[in-house]
């Protein structure tokens, strides 16, 4: 065996590995394995098991439909209110799961980080995979329900993946910031639930924006508005309207979040093992 043909790694202060992205690719299966581990373990010793994937959003849908539809009497534009909520809840849950999971991922895997090398980026990325799996399950249940309640999705459904990616990009960007900050400042563990509690009201989860012209521009400042509106538009076959400017804001903010999140994560990554 000759040492000359082997990959050469140089370890120096301040030098992030030149092979970072190659390593990320080499370890790509690990993200899948971490996600698979978390999914497999999640409902162990829970009597209702996998049913929790459904119960939680179901209760939330009913609650939000009651609050916004019945109590606040928000306009529904002829769409069953439950469907409005459900189609908003899908992307919101996707965001919540991805953002929450990514945010806690590094501290939650501290034992790995201090004992084994692999590109740390894989840990938060594995949380996106988990969120996506949950999303898939919920989507598979939502689609038949939509048809039963009288709405047939149209060609718009084909664009759904785009909005899913948009949601994930926002969640990933925000999640990278939070997880890198949480390693150093555990305060961010308390900030995350707080953001999510407020978020469910300032994101059009329980109401449609096209009937709220006065609030629309304000809501568009929240990058998730565009994503949630988009998913709803795809699922409800164009029964709601897509708001162009909102979508543009979403995409711009998402790009900024992701690139800055990556930048901060990569910058602090090298110290994770020392401070986690």
């Amino acid at each position: 065996m000759s040492a000359d043909v082997l990959p050469e790694v140089i370890i120096e202060p301040g030098r992030s590995s030149a092979n970072y992205w190659r390593d990320l690719w080499r370890f790509r299966e690990l993200a899948g394995f971490l996600a698979w581990r978390d999914i497999k373990v999640r409902y162990r010793q829970a009597a209702l098991g996998i049913a929790w994937v459904v119960i939680q959003p179901l209760v939330q849908t009913l609650l939000l439909s009651f609050v916004f539809g019945k109590l606040a009497k928000m306009p529904d534009g002829g769409v069953p209110y439950v469907l409005l909520v459900l189609s908003g809840l899908l992307p919101w849950q996707l965001f919540t799961a991805a953002f929450n999971g990514a945010g806690n991922s590094l501290v939650g895997n501290a034992n790995l980080i201090s004992k084994v090398y692999f590109p740390r980026l894989l840990v938060p990325l594995s949380c996106l995979v988990i969120a996506l799996v949950d999303f898939g399950v919920m989507l598979a249940l939502t689609l038949p329900l939509t048809v039963i309640l009288g709405i047939v999705p149209g060609w718009q459904l084909l664009l759904l993946p785009l909005f899913v990616v948009l949601t994930l990009v926002i969640a990933c960007g925000a999640g990278l910031w939070i997880t890198a900050l949480t390693v150093k400042y555990r305060d961010f563990r308390f900030i995350t639930p707080f953001i999510l509690q407020i978020g469910v009201f300032v994101t059009p989860v329980g109401f449609r924006t096209d009937f709220l012209p006065n609030w629309r521009d304000l809501l568009a400042l929240n990058p998730l508005s565009g994503a949630v509106d988009g998913v709803r538009w795809c699922l409800l076959g164009g029964h709601t309207e897509l708001y162009g400017p909102g979508l543009v804001v979403s995409c711009i903010v998402a790009a900024i979040l992701l690139s800055s999140g990556l930048w901060y994560f990569r910058r602090t990554e090298r110290q994770f093992a020392d401070i986690v």
């Binding site: 370890i11 120096e12 080499r26 370890f27 497999k40 010793q45 790995l112 110290q271 020392d274």
Partner: protein, 416 residues
């Protein structure tokens, strides 16, 4: 000689210990920053922070196929060195060039999930260590056979005995095929037979021309397995060469450190009119040393003279490195004629926790009348060998660390 597979030059690692409490939350940081700015404005200085160099200017190179042992006392920088070479943490200064794939095993069973079955954990752990799914599948049977857990493959590992757990964990790591294998004191866990098997495996890895870096406190194993040994002392390379020579240096330096002490007869602080302390030493297996393996008993003995007939007694006080008074102990006093005497006491195995201990020796008459009190007469380090740790590789807190008889049982009515 071919090109070295590992080339380390001037490697240093500094940890900064802030004396103002660690600020792990935002409020503290804001507060701290505000105070720092204020101080700087007022006095032109920042906060004191103590620097701790875990490694200082370490250089060496390793040829392909070498089995390099790294030895040294607790805190000498061994683990830090391995962490840097494994790319877990980055150095403060210097550089290391590594020409080949590295697999490091700094802890047994990193990433094992107790709820998952043995089968699942093999895949998970393999992926964490950098194996691809196909690679794991190809070696799966070999791993299972090596770990001897065939019958329990589908049982969650939390129900494994600690021996099975360790066997499985080592088996996964041992079947990686890297050019460089880095192993930290992990073989110490598990029964003797399995240890033998692991060592055999590591020997086999080396004989295939792979390079092994191996940290251990077990000098016997280091001497057997390694072709070359580096001794680290306070973060620097103190010796580098043939195993016999370097291990000799290490053991000697331990003895000089404080494993034994002799006091001249004219010192005022070690004698009185009636009693005089001459020497004290710590023995493991009949040899003077300051290094006590945690699972071996150590003998503390001291020689003294009785200068005038008296009811003489003695006592030892044991302190840990934080100065916590761990114990005091002494024999019943006896009426002694003038002459030389020796008191010896056995510190049992599996009793003190790992770490540094200081011994004070007291000679007294009439039960309470202290004649001689020598503080820090001798000191010694108890170090880990892995016994009693089961699968846990982290810090165990406390002054003492006895092996207690645990029982665990499942209560009826569990959902399985």
């Amino acid at each position: 000689m071919s090109r070295p597979i590992i080339d380390v030059s001037g490697l240093s690692k500094r940890y900064v210990i802030e004396h103002e409490s660690r600020h792990d939350n935002l409020r503290d940081t804001l507060h701290h920053t505000a105070r720092k700015v204020w101080r700087r404005l007022r006095w032109g200085t920042g906060f004191d922070h103590e620097e701790f160099w875990a490694l200082r200017d370490v250089s060496f190179s390793v040829q392909p196929g070498e089995v390099l042992g790294i030895i040294g006392r607790n805190g000498a920088g061994k683990s830090t060195l391995l962490k840097i070479l494994s790319r877990i943490t980055e150095p403060t200064n210097g550089r290391a060039v590594i020409r080949g794939r590295v697999a490091s095993l700094l802890e047994v069973g990193t990433g094992f999930h107790p709820e998952l079955s043995g089968r699942d954990n093999i895949f998970l752990n393999g992926a964490i260590l950098g194996m691809s799914r196909q690679e794991i599948r190809r070696k799966f049977d070999e791993i299972v056979a090596f770990a001897e857990v065939e019958r329990f493959l589908d049982t969650p590992v939390k129900r494994y005995s600690s021996g099975m757990y360790v066997r499985l964990a080592f088996a996964v790591a041992a079947h990686l095929e890297p050019e460089i294998l880095i192993v930290d004191e992990v073989l110490a866990v598990g029964d003797a037979q399995f240890q033998q098997k692991c060592l055999g495996k590591m020997g086999a890895v080396a004989s295939q021309g792979r390079t092994v870096l191996f940290v251990s406190h077990n000098m016997g194993v280091v001497a057997n397995l390694c072709s070359r040994v580096i001794l680290l002392d306070q973060g620097s390379v103190a010796a580098d060469g043939a195993p016999g020579h370097v291990i000799g240096t290490y053991i000697q330096s331990g003895a000089q450190l404080s494993g034994h002490a002799v006091w001249a007869d004219d010192r005022p602080d070690t004698g009185s009119g009636k009693l005089r302390l001459h020497a004290a030493r710590i023995l493991v297996d009949g040899r003077v040393t300051a290094d006590v393996p945690i699972d071996r008993s150590a003998i503390l003995e001291f020689d003294f003279s009785v200068l005038a007939r008296c009811q003489a007694g003695s006592s030892i006080h044991l302190f840990d490195k934080q100065g916590v008074w761990v114990l005091c102990s002494g024999p019943a006093s006896t009426l002694l004629e003038p002459g030389r005497y020796r008191h010896r006491v056995t510190l049992p195995e599996n009793f003190l926790n790992d770490g540094l201990y200081q011994v004070s020796i007291i000679l007294l008459i009439d039960v309470t009348n202290i004649q001689v009190h020598v503080r820090e007469a001798v000191s010694f380090t108890v170090h880990e060998t892995g016994v009693g740790r089961e699968e846990y590789g982290g810090v165990m807190n406390g002054c003492i660390r006895p092996l207690l008889a645990w029982e665990s049982s499942a209560l009826s009515g569990n959902a399985s």
